[in-house]
Symmetry: C2
DNA sequence: GATGAATGTAAAGTGTTCTTGACATTATCC
DNA sequence: GGATAATGTCAAGAACACTTTACATTCATC
């Protein structure tokens, strides 16, 4: 599952650690999700999308078309 | 995390088993998600929302406000 | 009352998500 | 060169998502 979290985060001048603190997850979790090592849980996907004021489908893309 | 999968499914006259087959998951998985026993993975949440032609935020509600 | 379809739930097993702690690299600043 | 900040990654373990198998209940129909 692709995502654009790194772009959204850096556009706001946040470090991985700072974003993790905002969402109550570790910086390693942010790093792993940005690197695509695994997908976040649904609750964390909600937190991420809400933090960036976007729909989940606008932040993540499972590559099955009709994303939004 | 709340969801309205049962309402969406029954409105289409589908059994839990039939929905599971459509999405390639077991009927127990559909049952557990409808019952709120656990949240689906993000990929399964995408499949469910896409099947019902809705945004993930319209199918699931993590109760933190500003759902859509 | 027997049959079949739909549902609820439990147990055991597998793979995934997330944690903490640790170590390495790179870049900047003094 | 030494200190600090940001990032990449690994390992071990806890917690969660999902599977198969199995058994029970409910309801409709015969």
């Amino acid at each position: 599952m692709k995502n654009c979290i790194r772009a959204l985060r850096t556009a706001r001048g946040l470090s991985q650690e700072a974003l993790g603190e905002q969402l109550n997850v570790s910086r390693q979790t942010i790093n792993a999700i940005e690197a695509g090592r695994y997908d976040p849980s649904l609750p964390l996907a909600f937190k991420l999308a809400r933090f960036f004021a976007l729909h989940i489908e606008d932040v993540f893309d499972d590559g099955e078309g009709a994303a939004s």
